[in-house]
Subunit: 299 residues, 2 copies
């Protein structure tokens, strides 16, 4: 290993990937990028990154550490094991860091397959949204071999404010699943509390302030409560994405024999909003399901 | 009105009432107290309060502002309108402040009946637990006539850190109902998140820290998450009391045509724990229902 900064690869330049890649590039790391829609790579190219024509090409152009930031389990599988995927070109010692939120079980299987070629696969899903991605303040939940994680830790510290190592491959994804359960149940609670407040004729701002000052306080209440009260359903974090995450949660829980009734209930409400064409609204649009059930409108 | 501090009455010297009355007494207010179990009044008597032999006697002994801090709607009704109740002795200008958490609808009715004798009834349920009661840092959600509230505001500021005036009689109780919805739904979310974490083999302390640093953060997670993880079910706030509150919530919501499915689900779990003899455990003991459904134990 020489003193130069390692050459990085970045695959998936969406709403999260683009600003995270930019922060790594701005820190002076040479970078090769690939995105399914090549046009989305242009701002990174303009900032000095090199364009690859496939995931494998990211490696053949010299990257030794590759970040993946795509949507779902099949997307990660395609980037890894599809035609001209990373596995077809990765040499022993390569580290692949997956920031996508995908299945913990699939993650373990991907890590095992890659380990056979001496390649480390680190699951590192994040929490903190596009604002956290821009500001480099994301919480990162990492699973994987400690030695490999330590090698990429300086890079994770550039894109995140906090990195937790939960354990073996898949444990970062498992922690993200837990995170999503806490998030969505708090959210439905805020919706139901505000529905009761609305139908009781209370001033919703006042209720949010008082409830937020006590045992009912939550990130969801402070951040999404005011949007629910004013029927502002712009994302933020999209319903389609949280639905994808919740299906992972419920699959994982089912295999563990856990019912998770509250999370399942919220999932059914998100499903309802998505089926009505609201999949690209923010998660707070779950309020529309509570409105429909109660026959009222927040605003 | 003379310059002397008004003589206060205090009815209900339980886990909340006793420290709240003590804070008023310590601020130099002459006080007459009554409690169903007279022995519980002794520490206040020792500190300088006068003992009354009925709610009405609190008034005949000179109190012009009376606080009530009892458990449920029928308890408040008995203190107000029962034999030797407050209504039998209250003169025009008396203000009654009810810190109990009871039905918003019953509160409106009590206020209307008392208004006929020129007596103000202010609903002022609190949030913040026995610690908040001791430290005088409670959040107080008040409903009632503004002029009457302003008269007692200096006293409320002694027992609470924050006083919100929500509007007409009953609106303080309505706000408390909303508060409880946000509280218990966040709590079941923390339970389910930790259940998933436990069954995924994660370190629960680490999960609480990471999840608590992001969009899953809540008062319930920070304060009750560690107790759930270690199966510490000591109260805190008792299941029997939150069940009483949730029945008020669901009654109120039903009359408004609101289903509140998540709050109803949590209510059924609390009911289950209470039926198994756990009514005097802390609210975090709802984790036992999640354990039973999943066939595992947190600790």
């Amino acid at each position: 290993m020489n003193d130069a900064k390692p050459q990085l690869g970045y695959i998936g330049l969406g709403i999260m990937g683009a600003p995270m890649a930019k922060n790594l590039l701005d820190a002076g790391h040479p970078m090769t990028v690939w995105n399914r829609t090549a046009a989305k790579a242009q701002p990174l190219i303009d900032a000095g990154a090199t364009l690859a024509d496939s995931p494998a090409d990211v490696l053949t152009k010299g990257a030794s550490i590759v970040f993946i930031n795509v949507t779902d389990t099949p997307d990660v599988e395609a980037v890894l094991f599809g035609e001209r995927g990373l596995a077809s070109a990765a040499v022993a010692g390569t580290v692949i860091v997956d920031h996508s939120t995908i299945s913990p079980d699939a993650t373990r299987s991907f890590a095992e397959r890659l380990a056979k070629q001496g390649v480390d696969f680190i699951d590192a899903p994040v929490s903190g949204g596009d604002t956290g991605a821009k500001n480099g303040t994301l919480s990162i939940m990492a699973g994987g071999r400690r030695e490999a994680l330590e090698r990429v830790l300086p890079l994770l510290n550039i894109v995140g404010g906090k990195v937790a190592h939960l354990g073996a491959p898949g444990s970062g994804q498992a922690c993200k699943a837990c995170n999503q359960v806490a998030v969505v149940t708090a959210l439905i609670g805020v919706c139901e509390a505000l529905a009761l407040a609305k139908q009781s004729g209370l001033d919703l701002d006042q209720v949010l302030e008082v409830v937020g000052g006590g045992a009912g306080a939550s990130w969801q209440l402070s951040n999404l409560g005011p949007k629910i009260a004013t029927a502002d359903h712009a994302p933020g974090f999209m319903i389609d994405l949280v639905l994808k995450d919740l299906n992972i949660v419920l699959d994982t829980a089912k295999r563990q024999g856990l019912p998770l009734d509250a999370a399942a209930h919220v999932t059914s409400l998100f499903q309802q909003i998505a089926e009505q064409g609201g999949g690209r609204l923010g998660t707070q649009a779950i309020a529309k399901a509570v409105e429909a059930a109660g026959g009222f409108r927040f605003a």
